[in-house]
């Protein structure tokens, strides 16, 4: 294996191709982790496959800054979200859309909570809840919706988030390689980790002391290619329809609880709403096991992307007749990656895992954006050491 670390792409100040830490994946988690690492380490690099940062899960999601409402069946998760919410809103004030009203509606049939349970739950964890005004609740079909509540929940703008984070990265002089895909990683005799990068006709590599695999749906793929112990994850091939809503719905977001229902959330980067539906957003599910990994990215590019909008909108109209006036624009597609339950206890709702065979390799996966606040504690426990 020839290491050609002198390629033009590698900036001068790390001409050796040696780093203190390399982060694979320039999503929200990878970027934030690089920033945390930079507080302790000198040379930190982000390697991102796409042409820009925050293009995958950090962009193709429901943009919901969770405040707890979503989790009436897990008090701890709800409480934790409600604690992170003000922090996130404060830190990313410029990237938050709080100009809309957020309503939670409770379905009569097939719902796992009823209106009074939901209300008590919100009061118990101390998040704002009040009955919606008549002009809003009258938009819903009373035969199917028991009650509508006004709540406090915001949306984040992934494009503004990207800009803000890019500025931070620049300020901290963190190196970023875009359009660069990591193939696999290897242990070296010097105790460092070699990172192999796929290029059209050749391979390139660099060396690092610490390596962070923050590739979300690709975490297992890289481990597998490197012959390292994998983490069995669950995946959902997800579609969210982007719709232009009628004027009555322009400045509101709606989520129907708690079961096979829908959510109509503002999607700030496009000035549209995403329509997601518990039954129709996931097109496929798959689950890895110890010896079976699935190439999520290849699956993603091969799967026929035929929209489920005709399904999700019809169900939505039953609950919210005015949704009949929604115009379908296009869809966001992505592979949602779900933490294996065995790796999560409620006190640590993220995956932060040291590789048993390669101790300086860590895999990090956050189930939702605000889980970022659970990362520093994990990093502080590492006692990172600098030096080559």
């Amino acid at each position: 294996m020839v290491c050609r670390s002198d390629r033009a792409k590698i900036p001068a100040f790390s001409a050796s191709g040696d780093y203190d830490a390399v982060v694979i994946g320039g999503g929200f988690f990878g970027c934030k982790i690089a920033l945390y690492l930079k507080e302790h380490l000198d040379r930190v690099l982000i390697v991102e496959r796409e042409a820009d940062l925050l293009q995958r899960a950090s962009y193709t999601n429901q943009a919901r800054v969770h405040n707890g409402y979503h989790y009436p069946r897990s008090l701890l998760t709800a409480l934790r979200s409600s604690v992170n919410f003000p922090r996130f809103v404060e830190e990313y004030r410029d990237c938050i859309d709080n100009t809309f009203d957020k309503y939670y509606a409770i379905a009569r049939v097939f719902s796992k909570v009823n209106a009074s349970q939901f209300q008590i739950f919100c009061q118990r964890i101390g998040i704002p809840i009040e009955p919606a005004k008549n002009e809003i609740s009258s938009l819903f079909n009373p035969a199917l919706i028991e009650a509508v509540f006004k709540t406090q929940e915001y949306a984040f703008d992934a494009v503004k988030l990207k800009q803000k984070i890019r500025e931070e990265l620049e300020r901290e002089k963190i190196e970023i390689w875009l359009n660069t895909c990591v193939d696999k990683v290897q242990e070296t005799t010097s105790g460092k980790i070699k990172v192999l990068i796929r290029e059209t006709e050749s391979e390139r590599c660099l060396r690092t002391r610490y390596l962070f695999n923050c590739t979300y749906s690709q975490i297992s793929q890289i481990l597998k290619a490197s012959d390292l112990p994998t983490i069995p994850l669950k995946y959902e091939f997800a579609e969210m329809a982007l719709v232009d809503v009628p004027p009555e719905l322009k400045s509101i977001g709606i989520t129907v609880m708690c079961g096979p229902f829908f959510s109509l959330m503002p999607f700030p980067p496009r000035g549209l709403h995403t329509l997601s539906h518990v039954r129709y957003t996931p097109h496929y599910y798959w689950q890895e096991s110890e010896n079976l990994t699935i190439k999520a990215h290849e699956a993603y590019s091969q799967i026929r992307k035929q929209t489920n909008f005709p399904f999700s909108i019809r169900d939505t109209i039953r609950y919210l007749p005015i949704a009949a006036e929604c115009e379908y624009i296009d869809s966001l597609w992505g592979v949602k990656t779900v933490l294996p339950q065995s790796e999560v206890d409620d006190s640590r709702p993220i995956l932060f895992k040291q590789n048993p065979k390669l101790p300086n390799l860590y895999c990090v996966l956050g189930g939702k954006i605000d889980n970022i606040y659970d990362i520093p504690r994990e990093l502080n426990g590492l006692h990172l050491i600098e030096g080559v």
Binding site: F110, A143, L144, P310, R314
Partner: protein
Amino acid sequence: MERSDCFVSVIAPVQNDARIVKPFVEEVMAVLRQSFTNYELVLVNDGSTDDTSVVVSSLLRDYECIRLISLSRSFGADVAISSGLDSVIGDFVVVMIPESDPPQLIPELIETARNGKDIVIGIRRDRNDEPVWMKAGANLFYWLCRKLFKIPLIQNSTQFRVLSRQVVNAITQVRDKSRYLRLLGAYVGYSSQTFTYDFIYRYRHRRLKGVVELFDNAVQIIVVNSVRPLRFASYLGLFASILNVLYIVYIALVYLLKERVAEGWITV
């Protein structure tokens, strides 16, 4: 054939149908795929005690757009169908019984519905497969409904039917515990049409309902859908009261007019 651009939902209640559910699903899906751009099949497991749910679970993996609703116990086909109605999303909804209703008729029935009939109701051509007592019972039942209780039940109508979205919405507004859907359809007041068809037999021997179940069913339909039984009860009560009053008068007269009445006869 050109696929017609509408969304069709099929609801089928299944109960201990492990043996026939697979061929049923195969046929329905073939018809739906061929005829419509969007469709779904909702199977409602009405408390089966055989492997129906196991068979259906494997079918869920093999076909797109199939859903399963499982009821906690057996509630009967009407409740199973109405919980399907609570969940389907189609522009037109076909209700059918896997054992007896032919999926091949679906496109034609949907066509009828699309041409402006909100309810298209299936009628079985004959009851030749039933024993004499059952036919007689059915005839008596329909006669009673028509003549005595004034319930607008169509003779030999089955569950096989098509409902438009408007009708489904109207039916799901009715929050009545005992829903006899064949009638609810008639009550919500939309334009309807019937069609006559022959049962198919997926079981070699048709599974007939027990006498008790049928009788129970009949009583329920009558009691829930007609005020007449209540009236009859009232009249009966009134009649009995009048008899009583007459009897009291008679006793009083006996006491006043007769001279030798046995001791205690009046006060007993």
